[in-house]
């Protein structure tokens, strides 16, 4: 295996791994459900993309032909991850999970969970 291929593969791998870890750290550290949803849906997906890319290059090199089926997994994740996040965010709102204190416009959860259009701050305060 040529050195440069190995370098690229390794770098992509490390980057991917880092993002995966960051995603999980986010899940671990962030203070409310809505924030935590950002971790897995973004960082982890991207991290996985990195690892898959690395695997793709590596396997193509190893097998001697272009091994692009790893792309399919990425494609799949890119399509599905937002939906998962969306459904889970809906679920969180439905469960009336508390938002962290610093959250702005947290009153929007009330209208959002009923799928109503937003009301202005004043309205929200009065209702």
């Amino acid at each position: 295996m040529s050195f440069w291929v190995e370098v690229i593969v390794s770098i992509l791998l490390i980057i991917g791994g880092t993002f995966v870890l960051v995603g999980s750290i986010g899940l671990f550290r962030l203070k409310d459900v809505y924030c935590r949803l950002h971790g897995p849906t973004k960082a982890t997906t991207v991290g996985l993309g990195g690892i898959l890319l690395s695997s793709m290059i590596y396997m193509s090199h190893h097998n001697g032909y272009l091994s692009i089926h790893e792309l399919l997994i990425t494609l799949f994740l890119v399509i599905t991850a937002p939906v998962t996040a969306h459904i889970l965010a809906k679920a969180a709102m439905h469960h009336k999970v508390k938002t962290m204190e610093a959250t702005r416009n947290s009153h929007m959860v009330t209208t959002a969970r009923e799928q109503r259009p937003p009301v202005s701050d004043n309205d929200a305060g009065s209702s």
Binding site: F76, I79, T80, V83, H86, I87, K90, H94, H95, K96, R113, E114, Q115
Partner: protein
């Protein structure tokens, strides 16, 4: 004509009354008597041969390996009993046609009676111990049916059950005795057994065999202490009492003693047990007979007493005593049967059997009274009647023994005492019923019975008189020839059958007995007063009490043991597993084998840690069900990663797919189940369960470790070697599944299909309450089908189907296959159900999932049958490679069709389950219960 015709005729005779009942009572009676009559004729026809001293035997092989060789034997003893059974039996049938009232099912009654007769006759004619025993048991059963003939009466049922229980118990002891004798002798053939007396008596197990046989004989013959059932058997119609409980069945025990006399008698044990039992029974029966107010009760206890007398004679171990016993058997049968019939007439004509109300009947029914008086005199042992002769022989024999040493004098004294009591109760039977003032408050005005109802009694009374007056002429030959059966060795001892033997001690005893008896009867009232101090114990109540109490205790024990607690059953199961596996495992000095542990890295440790933590978390958090479900999903995920890690990609895929489908299923179900487990088991139980779980976990781990650290040879090398050449695939696991062990897979998809059908059955007409809010009390969201989800789901469907096609097609050579492909398809469709809902999907998917299952399994099975066309066994695979221009080499294999069957079944089954489960909350729910 073969002897076997006798039982055959009688068995056929059982059916006659049932068939003839519709033609009227008289026809029925005559028809019923016909076949036993023929049988009697057959017996009579061989009388000369038997009198000539021959023993007639016939054999018919049946189950020789079990010693069951049907075989009949007629010797003197059998002849004597056969004549009694058939002769008295015919009289009883005749009598019964008058006794039973018009509305009673006489056909059934006769059928039972003939059944009994068959069995009884089979006992005496049997030449094989097991055959004898079979007949013996059938007498118990038919006796049960006859006693309970008036089944609506509680006393009939209870009396019948008691008789069955006691004689049944004795019968089982007898079987054990017979088996033991069969073992000792090496044959069940009576001809052999009867010639092996010394072998048996010398055998170490002789006492056991003897006691077992005696248990059978004594229970049947109502010997003390088993006598209590007999009086209660009197709940039977009187013909039954006359036949079974005086003349024949109770004599079966006596017959048995007589039959085995040459084999078992002659020892001290025999003497002691048999004679003492007989003596006790004789006295107790006679004493209790005196105090009965029921006519039949008196006769019943008198029967017990006389049976005791005969037993005593057989126990005395002298030859003359044996002859006396035989003589008394005949005499007792005759006079007691006639007495019972007389009692039946009285009952029939007056409506009561209570001697306190029956008085002075001579005036109303003098003819009957005369007959009864003659029989009763015979019972009392008055000279000129047959009872006198045998009783005098009995007195003589009690004098002629020394077995009790210096106490031997007691036996004649007690015998005389018994004689006194016999006279007393006989006197009561005559005086209290036919004389002694006027009747009191009888339900009916007494009168003579129909003319022919007395006919059987008359015959028997005539016999009583004839035997009593000219005994030698009447029964001398019969007695002699039957005695030779008991005393086969050498000539019979001298004895004389005549009325007058001169002035001797036995005559004195008779005289004492007669006058003593009269005296006792005269002073009976103080005796009654004395006896009334003792609380009368009703054997029936005691017996029922013991039975009920026993059954209650047993039920309590049973209910304590099987309390309907599944937890207990599982715990018992697992404890048994622990005990049984721990014992071998403890013998293993060390679990480790000689393979060294492979190295582990951090990832593996992490995975193991995650696995263990989530497994334990599932257990700990099981009360919060959704969380437990999430935790177990992690377990499933890591298990599939583990499979992947240990070179089992197929397993990883399968595990993963199954896991997801199962979790979806559980979620669907959880909606209808409580969300949380509110109450829990007591801490003690939790500790117990933890203990069981921990030990079992330890044992499983130990066994697992012991296995995987040892090398082994397996048949798998064959599969690897032949996968490509023999199965046409490079994925050995898949080739095993669809080819080498395709039969397992066929079974497996059958299981899946049946499960789906069963689940559909479970879901039909299910009435579930749906929670309207979650466990936090938050009402469900109103967004039933989130548009974004709907959109993405429908775009993913073609992709998922493509992936499933991909997994299916490559399965034979690379990880994949029909099963996983099927699950992927199912999950994709389920995803559509989740996103769109049932109402939307239902009109759009026209698949009949039931047919899909059927076709799937059918396809797989047909692939298997297809190999028959090529003369190969079921499921023999076929594959070949074809070179197609431009495309190259492609492989076609029957396994692909098989796998397609698997695919269809999986899709059909999964969707049948999940879709129908989903439908529960919609109007499409399965409601048609009937197919």
């Amino acid at each position: 004509m073969s002897l076997f015709w006798i039982p055959v005729l009688l068995v056929l005779g059982v059916l006659v009354p049932i068939i003839c009942e519709r033609f009227g009572r008289n026809v029925c009676t005559v028809a019923t008597m016909a076949l036993p009559g023929l049988a009697l004729a057959k017996i009579l026809s061989i009388v000369p041969e038997v009198f000539a001293g021959n023993v007639i035997t016939e054999y018919l092989s049946w189950i020789p390996s079990a010693g069951l060789i049907l075989s009949l034997r007629v010797d003197g003893l059998a002849l004597l009993f056969a004549l009694l059974i058939l002769g008295i039996g015919l009289l009883i049938i005749f009598y019964a046609s008058y006794y039973l009232s018009e509305e009673e099912a006489i056909g059934r009654f006769y059928a039972y009676l003939i059944l009994f007769m068959t069995a009884m006759l089979s006992i005496v004619l049997a030449n094989n111990l097991l055959q004898l025993w079979m007949a013996w048991e059938i007498t118990s059963i038919s006796s049960f049916l006859l006693i309970s003939f008036w089944s609506s009466k509680s006393e009939s049922r209870k009396g019948a059950r008691m008789a069955l229980t006691v004689t049944g118990a004795g019968g089982l002891a007898l079987l054990a005795g017979f088996l033991l004798i069969g073992d000792i002798v090496g044959s069940y053939d009576l001809s052999v057994v009867l010639n092996s007396g010394d072998t048996i008596r010398d055998h170490a197990l002789y006492p056991v065999a003897l006691l077992l046989v005696l248990a059978g004989a004594f229970t049947k013959s109502a010997q003390f202490p088993f006598h209590f059932w007999l009086p209660h058997a009197m709940a039977a119609p009187t013909p039954v009492s006359a036949y079974l409980h005086s003349a024949t069945m109770v004599k079966a025990g006596i017959f048995l003693l007589a039959l085995f006399y040459p084999v078992l008698a002659g020892t001290d044990l025999w003497f002691f047990v048999v004679s003492m039992t007989g003596l006790a029974t004789f006295l107790i029966g006679a004493y209790l007979a005196l105090f009965q107010h029921d006519l039949k009760g008196l006769l019943a206890y008198s029967t017990i007493s006389h049976l005791g007398l005969i037993t005593l004679l057989l126990g005395i171990n002298t030859q003359l005593a044996a002859i006396a016993a035989l003589f008394h058997i005949m005499n007792h049968a005759v006079f007691k049967a006639s007495l019972f019939m007389a009692a039946g007439i009285i009952d029939h004509e007056t409506g009561t059997r209570d001697m306190r109300r029956l008085n002075g009947l001579w005036k109303y029914m003098p003819h009957t009274a005369t007959l009864a008086t003659v029989s009763a005199a015979s019972m009392a042992g008055i000279p000129l009647f047959n009872g006198f002769l045998s009783k005098e022989m009995f007195f003589a024999e009690t004098l002629d023994q020394v077995a009790l040493g210096s106490l031997s004098w007691m036996i004649p004294v007690l015998a005389t005492l018994g004689g006194i009591l016999s006279v007393a109760y006989s006197m009561r039977f005559i005086h209290d019923v036919f004389f002694n003032k006027e009747p009191e408050g009888l339900p009916k005005t007494p009168a003579e019975p129909p003319r022919y109802m007395k006919f059987p009694v008359e015959i028997l009374v005539v016999i009583c008189l004839l035997v009593g007056i000219v005994p030698d002429f009447m029964i001398g030959d019969l007695l002699a020839i039957s005695a030779t059966a008991l005393l086969p060795d050498g000539p019979l001892p001298e004895y004389s059958l005549s009325i007058w033997h001169g002035l001797n001690l036995p005559l004195l005893m008779s005289v004492i007995a007669i006058f003593g008896g009269l005296l006792v009867y005269a002073y009976r009232h103080p005796l009654y007063r004395f006896q009334s101090q003792f609380r009368e114990t009703d054997a029936k109540l005691v017996f029922e009490g013991i039975m009920q109490g026993g059954i209650q205790q047993v039920s309590r024990l049973h209910n304590t043991l099987s309390n309907g607690s599944l937890q207990r059953y599982i715990a018992l199961l697992l404890i048994l597993v622990i005990v049984m596996t721990a014992i071998p495992i403890i013998q293993l000095d060390s679990a480790a084998g000689n393979l060294t542990d492979q190295a582990v890295n951090g990832i593996e440790i992490t995975l193991a840690m995650l696995l263990c933590i989530s497994a334990v978390a599932t257990a700990i958090l099981h009360k919060q069900r959704m969380i437990a479900l999430i935790a177990i999903s992690v377990v499933g995920l890591i298990v599939s990663i583990t499979f992947a890690r240990f070179s089992a990609p197929d397993l990883a895929l399968t595990q993963l797919a199954v896991e997801i489908v199962t979790v979806i299923l559980l979620m669907l179900a959880l909606f209808f189940l409580p969300q949380k487990t509110p109450a829990d088991s007591a801490p003690k139980r939790i500790v117990r369960d933890l203990g069981i779980a921990a030990i079992l976990g330890g044992i499983v781990a130990t066994i697992n470790y012991a296995i995987i650290t040892r090398p082994f040879d397996s048949i798998s090398d064959f599969f690897i070697a032949n996968s490509k050449t023999g199965g046409g695939g490079t994925n050995v696991v898949n080739v095993i599944l669809v080819d080498f062990r395709g039969f397992d897979t066929l079974g497996e998809i059958t299981v899946l299909g049946i499960a789906a059908l069963g689940i559909f059955k479970l879901l039909t007409r299910i009435r579930l309450s749906m929670p309207t809010a979650n466990d936090k009390g938050i009402a469900w969201s109103k967004d039933v089908h989130p548009p974004i989800l709907v959109m993405i789901s429908q775009s993913l469907l073609p992709l998922a189907l493509l992936v499933s096609a991909y997994i299916f097609i490559r399965g034979h050579n690379l990880p994949g296959g029909g099963f996983i492909a099927g699950l992927v398809t199912s999950v994709a469709i389920i995803q559509q159900y989740i996103a769109h809902g049932v109402d939307w999907i239902k009109p759009r998917i026209k698949l009949n999932y039931q047919n899909l299952i059927a076709w799937g399994v059918l396809l797989a099975a047909l692939t298997g049958v297809g190999s028959w066309l090529f003369d190969r066994p079921f499921l023999t695979s076929w594959f070949d490679y074809f070179d197609i221009p431009w495309i190259g080499k492609i492989e076609l294999a029957s396994a692909i069709i098989f796998d397609l069957g698997v695919y269809l079944t999986v899709v059909g089954a999964t969707l049948l389950i999940l879709a129908n489960l989903g439908k529960l909350t919609t109007e499409h729910r399965p409601t048609v219960e009937e197919e």
